[in-house]
């Protein structure tokens, strides 16, 4: 596989190949010894087409956010490649990488922590324009004003500070900052998890409008399955640093093949009392193993209700079972 651009509907914008992100566990004060590794992301591969939204779901600590950050090179991956518009981001350094940031941005989870409390809204949104020499002075001010309007904020807000805003408004500021450089790809790292339910819908709608307006491509990380179903074209399910299943949205939600996906989806309440009555929850036993010491074989083998002997011995491959429906399970497609 290479990162060459294909044209038409199958135009692939981001291709992740065998991405691994390990964090060392060190011990000792002066002489630090490495005593282990946290395998936050352990060899995942997928691609995102131009203009689509790929949803990434999984429970807390499964490596969703790390994946997003490793793609944007905010963490330098331990191994693997990230092809973006035909460029391998992993091999870029310093200034080259900095220039690529014009094309890819991120929206953060916590709108209270992701804005510099000492900068005005105008400076926060205007900074990307300045550091990439896009606009300065009056031009910059006008562009900031325009961006504030695009995200549904009053342009009068330029001289205010982040603490003067509500969570939803702050998230809009974060979105305006991400849009400032006119990126083609945005990683949305749980952009609505920290917001009130009433505000969540507004932000989701805003993200969808912006996608239509600017032709954006999203990697949408979340743990809210209904939201992911609403916004995504395709969905990937992660567990303990690996992608377990990846398929078209409706295919995945109606026909989950991996036992973990089945369990995960069975937890979604159905807003119809008659069907909700009949909903059978698959309750998984035990806890997620430590990513510092994942089990041998399939990562899910310790909790899988359909576990077989081979699952504990050998890792299943991530295979396409037809119609771009990938699953990593010995019971399916092997």
């Amino acid at each position: 596989m290479t990162g060459t651009n294909e044209t038409g509907k199958n135009d692939i914008l981001v291709r992740v190949e065998n991405l691994k992100m390990y964090f060392p566990i060190t011990q000792g004060i002066i002489i630090q010894r490495q005593v282990g590794t946290i395998k936050a992301v352990d060899g995942i591969s997928f691609f995102i087409r131009r203009g689509e939204t790929l949803g990434l779901v999984g429970e807390s600590g499964c490596g969703k956010s790390t994946t997003g950050r490793a793609i944007l090179q905010l963490y330098r991956p331990t191994a693997g490649d990230v092809w973006f518009e035909g460029v391998n981001l992993v091999q870029l350094k310093g200034e080259q990488l900095r220039r690529m940031r014009r094309k890819m941005q991120m929206i953060f989870q916590d709108p209270y922590a992701s804005l510099n409390p000492r900068m005005t809204v105008g400076n926060i949104i205007g900074e990307p324009l300045e550091v990439h020499n896009i606009a300065t002075g009056k031009e910059r001010r006008e562009r900031v004003q325009e961006l504030l309007q695009v995200v549904g904020l009053n342009p009068y807000f330029v001289n205010r500070y982040p603490h003067e805003f509500s969570g939803g408004q702050r998230q809009r500021i974060g979105i305006a900052r991400a849009l400032a450089v006119n990126p083609s790809f945005i990683v949305c790292d749980e952009p609505i998890s920290a917001l009130d339910v009433s505000i969540q819908a507004q932000i989701i709608n805003l993200l969808e409008e912006l996608q239509d307006q600017f032709g954006l491509t999203y990697l949408f990380i979340a743990h809210d399955l209904s939201v992911v179903r609403h916004i995504s074209n395709r969905v990937a399910v992660m567990y303990l640093g690996k992608i377990m299943e990846l398929a078209d949205r409706d295919e995945l939600y109606e026909n989950p093949l991996h036992p973990y996906s089945k369990a995960l989806l069975s937890a979604v309440p159905i807003p119809d009392p008659v069907i909700e009555e009949k909903r059978q929850r698959i309750i998984l036993k035990g806890d997620v193993p430590s990513p510092a010491n994942p089990p041998k074989g399939c990562n899910f083998c310790t909790r899988c209700p359909e576990v077989m002997d081979i699952c504990r011995e050998e890792e299943p491959a991530f295979v396409d079972v037809g119609g771009e429906h990938w699953v990593a399970c010995w019971r399916v497609g092997h």
Binding site: R102, Q105, D110, N116, R118, V131, N154, Y156, R177, V181
Partner: protein, 300 residues
Amino acid sequence: MAVQGTQTVNVNWRAMRQESMGQRILRRFLRHRLAVAGAVVIIILALVAILAPYVAGQDPYYQDYSAIRTPPSREHILGTDPLGRDVWARLVYATRVSLSVGLVAVMIYTIIGTILGALAGYYGGAVDTFIMRITDVFMCFPLLIIIITVVALVGASLYNIMAVIGLLAWPSICRLVRGQFLSLREQEFITAARCVGVPGGRLILRHLLPNCVGPITVAATFGMAGAILTEASLSFLGLGVPPPQPSWGQMLTDAQKLTVLSRMPWLWVPPGIMIALTVLCVNFVGDGLRDALDPRMRID
């Protein structure tokens, strides 16, 4: 204010012209009463120091042997010292020494400490280890003892004292800034800035340092008070500015004698009050500055 449609919003930029950073800080500072009072006192002290010859009225070095240790009178407002010199004149001239030592020494060590701390905290790894081990070495010794030793070696003069305090007292600021940087570096807004493509230097100057201004200001003002006290201690021990030149600490030296302490309060109370007043006012100003510099503080 409701969000309006794109066409209807017509922003009048002139009407909302941005208040400059300095104006905003000044406006907020002026609302802090104690800080303003402190600033006024310090400005008065600075003026006294600059205009010493006019304020003193008498020569601080003139020894009048006919009037030794006289209590306050019309001729000598604060009396005279054991050598017959006017205490008021000496007090006024001593302001020069204390204020300049406080200001210059603290400026030197705040700059050194901030730069080293920022480098250690931002780059981490080997740079951090190297700088912090040096800091540890400096911190192992009691500061006053080193200063006394160095002053004894290089000789006591106003400039030497400034330089010695300035060059030796930086580790505490360095540690402070490093600690702030280490915790700020992990904050999400720094990740956001890196993601936006903010280069390293700008990240330090525009994102990290402004968020340390509060602690640095507080440490610097306390440090200024500390430097004034250190100078006073040195002078008290006879290692301060050389004798005929007056300093508050040196004037306190007289209080070492029991007779002076019990019977001649005009010799040691005024310099003591001046030291306490200056230190207090500097601290108030620091407090006000910290609040004024933090946009999250609601002063308005």
